[in-house]
Subunit: 204 residues, 2 copies
DNA sequence: TGCTAACCTGAGCAATCGCTCGGTTTTACT
DNA sequence: AGTAAAACCGAGCGATTGCTCAGGTTAGCA
């Protein structure tokens, strides 16, 4: 059990950057198509069209490759999810929350297969750091919005409330994307979720 | 990717039942101590004090062993979590919910290490069936309680509300046990959680 | 043009894996 | 006591794994 999964060397030329990217992309593809157990260093190198030796130039081991795959997915997700937010400044709180949920949901849906593979199979050690980071970003956004809302929102138990809100949103959307329940209508669910969060954060 | 992980043979004599149990227990131990990748059939057999041939008498492969480990954990958890419930009949709704949360939390805490190992490392395929089942049990209990509460509770969007409740409770408790947040007081968190659930289910 | 550092190659090793199979021992039942 | 079924054994096979290493190729710069 290592703790540093960072790439052991950063590519400096365009050629090597392409090699590096090809490896990460091949890793992602194999992860989706064959699961974590199917991601073997030999196979990744072959899929990337690169020699096994090159792979070990940049990555310490198999784990480091997967770590990088997860890192990129998490980063792309956070960027997509944050992009529509600035346009919401000053909007009413219920509309803002609903839009935020929609943004998160579509960011998740657009990388559903990869999310599923990561969630299903990748050891916690490799995915947890990035999950934590994404959480921290969302929490920060939520708190910023909180402050902007000023006296519209409740002030007590701020830590607990934001923890629960982020937990609920994360779990609900994840389940909605990866394991959609049969007896629940997604749109109604989002409506209900929005109402609950609004009422929770800004009780009238 | 198989879909049937059930044991290939059920032990009929006391001796073989002991063998079977030893294998499952060794599997659980190795899962906790070395993670999913550390659970190898040779190693499990050795740890169980049983020959590798015996292991394959009862289990089709490595996955089947882990599946059984998860099954037992989920079963034990559900039993522990349901045990204190009958005593709550007729209690006020907020007290009932709080006690239910406490029961769930302590059932989780008492098998923390195993839960962590399962959640961290075990492929979704092997853990999802049991997770689903535990969910279904909790939902059934929740709905039974719902009906018992009669006109105290709201009737619209029942599916959506119970989905959100179970999602929130599950995610919150899991996180509380496996990855306790630093800036949140567990007791206050449970208080807030109880209040939210009560308000959702039985708005005054 | 030549030199150095960056980059790439792939045969193949040592270790380990899941799993088989031929055979022995124990149990239940007559 | 005899017998068949149940249970157990473990050496070892074939396949695969993660990874090394000694040497070739390309890019950047003087």
């Amino acid at each position: 059990m290592r703790s540093d999964y960072e790439p052991k060397k950063v590519p400096k030329q365009a050629r090597s950057r392409a090699t590096f990217d090809a490896i990460v992309e091949a890793g992602a593809r194999l992860l989706v198509e064959r699961g974590y157990a199917g991601v073997t260093t030999n196979h990744v190198a072959e899929t990337a069209g690169v020699s096994i030796g090159s792979l070990y130039e940049y990555f310490a081991d198999k784990e480091a490759v997967v770590y990088e795959v997860v890192r990129r997915a998490a980063q792309g997700f956070s960027e997509d999810a944050a992009r529509p937010l600035p346009a919401l400044e000053g909007a009413p709180i219920d509309e803002g929350i609903r839009r935020w949920l929609d943004a998160l949901l579509s960011a998740m849906r657009s990388r559903e297969a990869l999310l599923r593979a990561i969630d299903s199979d990748v050891p916690l050690e490799l995915r947890e750091p990035h999950r934590r980071q994404a959480w921290a970003r969302h929490l920060a956004l939520a708190r910023a919005a909180y402050r902007m809302a000023g006296d519209q929102v409740r002030q007590d138990r701020e830590n607990e409330v934001s923890f629960l809100v982020v937990t609920l949103v994360d779990a609900t959307l994840t389940r909605l994307v990866l394991d959609p329940p049969r007896d629940v209508c997604p749109d109604t669910l989002l409506d209900e979720l929005t109402e609950r969060v609004v009422e929770w954060v800004a009780p009238s």
